[in-house]
Symmetry: C2
């Protein structure tokens, strides 16, 4: 099992702002994908993230206000199925630090390389949303290959 | 042992352009850090990447023109010492795809989370340099915490 790990700091934000960006449809739509639906605010709720034709369904597995969010992938690409996505939030001075883990990939396949960089792109979008008021969610985020470019144009 | 993995596609580029960006001081200074010195173009050469007070020395371990570059960290933070950084380049239609691995971290420490996201920031700078002519190397890249912010201001 292998994990994607990231850490991003957001200046002049707060754990409450980050938690809101991860647990409300408004927040999630502002940095990840504009087509986010479902129930993001309760343990057991299912959030549907869509990117044109494809996407992911995440079941909310744990919520600790302003501290921790855990999702389990219950539908999506076969490589994602059963993986978990963990968010931990910590304040350090004027910076809110987000520790991110996309856990339990079976193998370090090429798609995992892609998703690692793509999570980086979206975490920088989360940072931009909270620092400037404007994120860069799908379909306007940075594209990493022709497949993504074509999907966004479809 | 754990690895940082990334994959980034660069539109309307070529394997030769990417290889040049990874093996010349001009190229490396354009996307990673403006203070890059040493010998980046020969196996056995040592490249010195500096970010204010700190930085990394990499020994070039392998070079296959337009295909592969391998560096070994011979000086730098203790967590980086002895790790290797591997670059593989592949053309897919109009996109040049770069597979990146920072291999053989002893433990998935917090600093590894940070470096994973930071590699993402610099890989997007490499992409921007080749797509637009202008990268965002240190000290002007996106900052991820107060430590980085202070180092760049020093």
């Amino acid at each position: 099992m292998v994990d994607i790990l990231h850490k991003v700091g957001i200046k002049s934000s707060s754990p409450a702002d980050v938690y809101k960006a991860l647990t409300t449809l408004d927040g999630l739509s502002g940095w990840w994908t504009t087509t986010t639906t479902g129930d993001s605010s309760k343990v057991g709720g299912v959030i549907k993230f869509r990117f044109g034709n494809g996407g992911f369904d995440m079941k909310v597995r744990a919520l600790e206000p302003d501290k921790h969010v855990l999702w389990e992938v219950v539908d999506g690409p076969v490589e994602w199925f059963g993986t978990k996505i963990s968010w931990d939030i910590r304040q350090e001075g004027d910076w809110t630090i987000v520790f991110f883990k996309h856990m339990s990939w079976k193998e370090p396949v090429e798609f995992m390389h892609h998703c690692s960089t793509k999570w980086g792109v979206f975490l920088l979008s989360l940072k931009a949303m909270l620092e400037t008021g404007k994120g860069e969610p799908w379909p306007n985020e940075i594209k990493l290959d022709s497949w993504e470019e074509n999907r966004a144009a479809a």
